[in-house]
């Protein structure tokens, strides 16, 4: 039977009334373990929606502190949180929305040395990072450990989302084999980001996680969704598994985790996506 209290049944009644979710789906959400990497522009809506939805066990890893320039889009943090570690600020906001959930906070950077041990505790990973080295690290680790991953990226007025079932569906490297050359693609701090675009993309990522957990609908597997806010246009591309993919292809050349160097010509301050 379901292990939901009366208060929880009331709280989640708009979920439970959905026949595709029901009590069984809500129980799956309560039993789920999700790791969100980054508590910035994407992580904010992801964490808030997963917490509100009753995902029972949420991990958040982020080594940054809240900066006033974050507040235009990172809606999980408040003005009074400036200078606080983002993981603590995020955790407090999530617990305020939903005291029934557990939040694991990791105030550290995700590296090749800690990622495998972290992944052991979680079934689904959400990428809300602000740099390519960590993005590729997460993709490769999720392929190697056969974890589900919801990719997301934002820049200026654009965003992208892609869901991945590690080792089974197309991965990030199937589409973007290698990172762009250092210094060629700007960060949000350098090129700007319309705050609400982070909300659109992060909310799509949260939707994908809730679908994966409950089994509702079809995840965005083998597809890449690009969002153009200026034209208000969504463009979906097929992204089949690439047999030549260096990490999930037929003859993978990447069999151990790689951490690309963080290098750039102009060091940008406080640039969390």
């Amino acid at each position: 039977m379901f292990n939901l209290t009366e208060e929880e049944i009331l709280r989640y009644s708009r979920h439970i009334i959905l026949s595709e979710v029901g009590g069984a789906g809500q129980q799956k959400l309560k039993d789920a373990n999700v790791l969100v990497v980054g508590a910035g522009g994407l992580g904010s809506p992801v964490l808030l929606y997963l917490a509100a939805a009753g995902v029972g066990h949420i991990g958040v890893i982020e080594d940054d502190v809240v900066d006033v320039t974050n507040l235009q889009r990172q809606i999980i943090h408040s003005t009074t949180d400036v200078d606080k570690p983002k993981v603590h600020s995020a955790s407090e906001s999530m617990k305020q929305i939903n005291p029934h959930i557990e939040v694991d906070v990791y105030h550290e950077r995700l590296t090749k040395d800690n990622i495998f041990s972290l992944l052991e505790n979680y079934d689904i990973v959400v990428d809300g990072v602000d740099n390519f080295p960590t993005r590729y690290l997460i993709n490769d680790a999720c392929v190697m450990k056969k974890k589900k991953l919801v990719e997301g990226g934002i820049l200026r007025f654009m965003g992208l989302v892609m869901s991945i079932s590690g080792g089974e569906t197309a991965c990030y490297r199937c589409v973007y084999e290698e990172p762009p050359p250092p210094g060629t693609v700007p960060s949000c701090a350098e090129a700007g980001i319309l705050g609400a675009v982070a909300g659109v993309v992060g909310t799509l990522q949260a939707t994908e996680v809730l679908k994966m957990i409950t089994g509702v609908g079809e995840p965005l597997y083998n597809r890449l969704l690009q969002f153009d806010a200026e034209a208000l246009h969504f463009h979906e591309l097929n992204a089949k598994r690439n047999p030549k993919c260096p990490v999930c292809g037929e003859n993978p050349t990447i069999t151990e985790l790689i951490e690309y160097a963080y290098t750039c010509d102009t060091q940008a301050p406080g640039s969390t996506g």
């Binding site: 602000d130 990226g153 992208l160 890449l224 690009q226």
Partner: protein, 96 residues
């Protein structure tokens, strides 16, 4: 933008004489899921630049195949090609 003619999402319209004359050199491409007529140089970099896209920000896929960046100048577009820009979006290559 080096697009030409009138075949676009706006639908058909009468072509001016210049547009009609130029139409002979036009290619009909599907760019980002939308039909466009294009009259610029046929290499991929020229298409990117004509659309104001920075070729460093995006990979390019033609008819489902991802191109290598070094091929942007060598590969010629053909009438009917489906072109997708795979934008890099991830917060840059700098540290936090």
């Amino acid at each position: 933008m080096s697009e030409c003619g009138a075949h676009s999402e706006k639908g058909n319209k009468l072509l001016s004489f210049e547009e009609d004359a130029r139409g002979a050199d036009c290619m009909l491409l599907t760019v980002q899921g939308k039909p466009v007529r294009y009259s610029g140089d046929a290499d991929v970099r020229s298409l990117l630049e004509s659309r104001g896209e920075n070729s460093l920000y995006a990979n390019v896929r033609i008819n489902g195949s991802v191109l290598r960046r070094r091929d942007f100048e060598n590969i010629s577009l053909s009438d009917g090609d489906k072109v997708d820009f795979l934008y890099f979006m991830g917060g840059g290559t700098c540290s936090i």
